[in-house]
């Protein structure tokens, strides 16, 4: 062994000590399960569920079917709308909080977080109770004479969208808040001093500087919204199916695990693509995750 390599291995020790546990954790709980999913996607389905270990491309050929393309497009559309609404509602909200004194801001953040203390199924059930045919919303509408007979809110695309937006809004606000909070007043003042109108300052200074927060908000809402299935299952009544529901069904009632795995791989690729796009605009290290 040459002297040089020995030295190099010496200097690597602290690095391994530091990164080792994290890497081990990531390998055990992220990499290996993901590789297993990819592996399963190339296997044959068992008649009663489970997997037979005969390699095949059947699942990927099935994915090429136009019905899956439609589901993916439908899911993407809903995820885009959810994300857009969360950004449009969340940004002004985050801005408002960030410009408040620290103690008020922390209280407002607290208010935002409180609903998350309850189980998400409880929150979904609450929406269902509010909007059911003989629920308070319909009773109020009837009493005010706005409608003549109860409106069927349950199991509609609209209610699913409402469920998605309310569920993901806090995750959009938090990263944007932490970005906006770092924004220095001096920057805005300098912009104004140099003659920029407020709208110009916002578009040319505030928005670009808070972009990492916005992009994190996009990632934190878009990706879960794309893969969610409980919200669509409960509020959509098993009729409004998105890609998350289809994946869940493959592992449940339809018993086609390889196809479920292949769909998950597809979802993974879409996610990776998003992160890749982000990396073209800014460095990953800048991404605000709270």
């Amino acid at each position: 062994m040459s002297r040089g390599t020995k030295k190099a291995s010496h200097s690597r020790l602290p690095m391994i000590a530091q990164a080792g546990p994290v890497s081990l954790w990531m390998i055990l709980f992220v990499t290996i399960p993901m590789l297993f999913i990819i592996f399963i996607s190339f296997m044959t389905r068992g008649t009663f569920g489970g997997v037979e270990y005969t390699p095949t491309l059947t699942s990927y050929k099935t994915l090429a079917d136009v019905i899956y393309l439609n589901v993916i497009l439908k899911s993407l559309r809903v995820a885009v709308v959810t994300t857009a609404v969360c950004l449009l509602l969340g940004y002004p909200f985050a801005y408002y909080i960030a410009r408040k004194p620290a103690d008020v801001a922390s209280r407002l953040i607290m208010l935002l977080m409180i609903p998350l203390w309850t189980n998400s199924l409880m929150r979904l059930n609450a929406w269902m109770l509010l909007f059911q045919t003989n629920g308070p919303v319909n009773k109020a509408l009837l009493a005010l004479g706005l409608v003549e007979k109860p409106v069927m809110f349950l199991y509609t695309d609209g209610l699913v969208l409402l469920g998605l937006i309310t569920n993901f809004l806090p995750f959009a606000v938090l990263p944007m808040y932490s970005s906006i909070e770092k924004l220095q007043n001096a920057m805005l003042e300098a912009s104004a001093d140099l003659g920029a109108k407020p709208s110009t300052t916002f578009l040319r200074v505030t928005l670009p500087l808070t972009f990492p927060g916005i992009f994190s908000a996009v990632i934190l809402t878009f990706i879960p919204a794309l893969g969610t299935y409980t919200i669509t299952d409960m509020l959509g009544g098993g009729k409004v199916l998105y890609i998350g529901n289809i994946i869940k069904n493959q592992f449940g009632t339809i018993r086609n695990w390889p196809l479920g795995a292949a769909l998950s791989v597809l979802l993974l690729l879409i996610t990776a693509l998003l992160i890749f796009i982000y990396s073209r605009f800014a460095s990953i290290e800048d991404m605000e995750v709270m």
């Binding site: 489970g50 019905i67 059911q132 045919t133 098993g238 018993r255």
Partner: protein, 343 residues
């Protein structure tokens, strides 16, 4: 210090002695079944009476118990719940222990019409359920007397339904005049087309009893147990009736217990099976689980309320069909079911 240490060790030893002695006394019975499907009192009484600990684990889907059984569940469970549709495959595959009915004398109470000779060797029926049509006489736009009524345009936005390929396809096949357990791809494809129309009328799959009580639907294709629950919730205001079907048969399914090959506590499994076949025990269980029951003596001993329940008030109880094992054709069903759901 030394004294304290030895005292501590002595304590630990004494304590662990107690634990091991206790463990040896209290044997464990491991059961895998649906959740909310057996009364807690029944389990507690059984534990007291026989000095046993019962560990219940729950399945989410019929496929779960099949996965367990085919993977060899004997080391983990002593009793597994499954349904009649899978018995043929499970027996053929040799996944089950053959039963010695002399160890289950109370099984005499079970009506043999619901318990084929083949099945008597391998399973004990627990409860059964009809999957039929129920509607609200005040809100449903039409009277329903056959499956084809469900796809009439008047029924749009009125129906709540159970889910699952092997529950939905049979009614379509019957409506089209085919065998409900068809293995013919063309027939299944036609059934799929029928179900597309059905799907248009369906408001939601699952939660049928909640939806009919809250007024979201006026008609449901569901289990008798769920109907009993909905009717009990409506109480005095109940306007639900079981649809007066004229000729279409309805599905009758069984949930039954099997002993997986190589089970560790066969003796306890037998004790448990005998216990649940006891008329008084099962009658008490029917209060919490108001499903149809194949144990005639238990039904006779059950409460008036159960026996006269409006959910069981229909006259075509013997015009039934069973879900049969369709073998590899299950993948054809799954494929069309997928298309139906994805649309």
């Amino acid at each position: 210090m030394k004294k304290a240490l030895s005292l501590l060790i002595a304590f630990v030893m004494l304590f662990s002695l107690g634990i091991t002695a206790n463990a040896a006394e209290r044997k464990e019975l491991n059961i895998f079944m649906w959740s909310d499907y057996i009364s807690d009192d029944l389990i507690a009484n059984f534990e007291d009476e026989f000095g046993v600990r019962v560990n219940l684990s729950y399945m989410n889907d019929n496929a779960d118990s099949i996965t367990k059984l085919t993977a060899g569940a004997g080391s983990e469970y002593d009793l597994i719940m499954t349904c009649d549709a899978y018995m043929e495959s499970l027996i053929a595959g040799g996944y089950l222990e053959e039963l010695d009915l002399s160890q289950i004398p109370n099984s005499e109470n079970i009506n043999k019409a619901y318990w084929s000779e083949q099945n008597q060797k391998y399973c004990v029926p627990y409860l059964m359920n009809y999957i039929y049509v129920v509607y609200d006489t005040e809100r449903c736009p039409i009277e329903i007397t056959c499956y084809n009524d469900l796809i009439r345009p008047e029924m749009k936005g009125q129906i709540g339904s159970v889910d699952g390929a092997r529950n939905l396809f049979p009614i379509a096949l019957i409506a089209l005049g085919y065998d409900p357990n068809s293995r013919d791809e063309n027939e299944i494809k036609e059934a799929y087309e029928w179900l597309v129309k059905y799907n248009e009328n369906v408001v939601a799959y699952g939660s049928t009893e909640t939806n009919i009580v809250s007024g979201a639907i006026s008609c449901m294709f569901t289990y008798d147990g769920n109907t009993a629950e909905a009717m009990a919730q409506l109480g005095e205001d109940n306007t639900l009736v079981v649809a007066p079907f004229t000729s279409d048969p309805v599905q009758l399914g069984f949930d039954l217990y099997v002993i997986p090959k190589g089970a560790q506590h066969m003796d306890l499994a037998y004790q448990f099976l005998n216990y649940i076949c006891d008329p008084e025990v099962m009658a008490a269980n029917l209060v919490d689980n108001p499903y149809s029951c194949p144990n005639d003596a238990a039904v006779a001993a059950a409460s008036e309320e159960y026996r006269n329940g409006p959910a069981f008030d229909f006259d075509y109880k013997t015009n039934i069909f069973f879900q049969e094992d369709v073998g590899d054709a299950i993948t054809i069903y799954d494929q069309y079911y997928q298309m139906l759901k994805v649309g």
